[in-house]
Symmetry: C2
Subunit: 214 residues, 2 copies
């Protein structure tokens, strides 16, 4: 039952490192509330209520609503960066690294689509310093992907006229999975990841891309 419930709610696992338990429950409640009503329409009272706590109990863990959004955004963006770091550091050709990066990145955005939506849509709601910190994480993720694409071009594996523009489009394609993905839909996160890895290899003009359709 435990394992089954975990599989049914894969989003829960992403907060596993937050302690104590009350702080973790508040983050989960905040993500749900922000996703349903938007950041600005959500109050700390709403969040505390969803977590079965009082507003005063919330205040022990998070001084403001913005602090909760920052925490959520930080965990999400660090995870995205880690996926890209792992893919960049993996052995193999640029084709293999790009394929692996897209598969894992897309799978995460499908499995954690509620969190991913919140951190993308509510970016502007972060305070100035927090916004700067989060956009720095985004730039690092972007740079790592761009380097994989550039490595492929340099090695003659990829054929790309506009490396920054193509990198931007690839990231955008992967991130937008969070907007349309539904757990009730026709495709599993794994299937979307595999399809997208193939499409992205085509976008960069990889030598062996798209053979499945030919």
């Amino acid at each position: 039952m435990g394992a089954e419930a975990e599989r049914a709610v894969p989003e829960a696992e992403e907060w596993a490192d937050i302690a104590p338990d009350a702080a973790r429950r508040l983050v989960g409640a905040a993500v749900q509330a922000f996703a349903e009503r938007g950041y600005h329409a959500t109050t700390t009272r709403d969040i505390a209520g969803r977590a079965g706590m009082s507003p005063a109990a919330l205040y022990i863990h998070y001084k403001t609503k913005e602090e909760l959004l920052y925490r959520i955004s930080g965990i999400g963006h660090e995870k995205a960066l880690r996926i890209m770091e792992d893919a960049a550091a993996a052995g193999g050709t640029a084709t293999e690294r790009l394929s692996g990066a897209v598969r894992t990145f897309v799978r995460w955005h499908a499995e954690h689509h509620t969190t991913a939506r919140v951190i993308q849509y509510e970016l502007q709601a972060l305070g100035e310093e927090h916004y700067a910190e989060i956009t720095a994480l985004r730039r690092r993720t972007d740079r790592l992907l761009r380097q994989i694409v550039q490595d492929g071009v340099d090695a003659g594996e990829f054929h790309v006229a506009d490396v920054p523009g193509t990198t931007l489009a690839v990231l955008s394609l992967c991130v937008d999975v969070a907007r349309w993905f539904s757990a009730d839909g026709a495709r599993t996160p794994d299937e979307v990841g595999a399809l997208y890895a193939d499409l992205v290899l085509r976008m960069v003009g990889a030598e062996w891309a798209g053979t499945s359709g030919r």
Copy 2:
């Protein structure tokens, strides 16, 4: 001055058909408010205030906040559908039609990124009947694009293993332009449209795709 102001605010032109003037101003004010604070955090009082009107004056034109969102969503989705209809009906090969569709669709999402964001992010806030009506428009747009892709496959121009999945990804890529596009950014709507037309022809394995990078 008039023409210059219009060029500086290209989003205004999309409401040109709404009459009378007060109803048009309210729609413009609602888009701005929804984009900044989200649908649920916006009141009809906020919208009326932005339009320089009283809540009672708003009520003459729109009975509810949801009616305003529905109006905005309808205009935006009908425009997207019209772009796809025009591209599908255009002469030429599937390659030319797909390229034209992506260019125009992307340019619209870049130029009208604030409206496009609102109609994508706040879809769930529509009432049940309005939601059904809008998703029907979305399905028609999707079907038209899928048919262009299928035409290309049938004609031997494209090489696609998964036509529905690839169509979904192409639409997603184009729609997400609204999320990241900024008028202050490095690329114009035309430039993004041209880049994306090239990338999408690669995604469908078009025969002459990606020659610019080779």
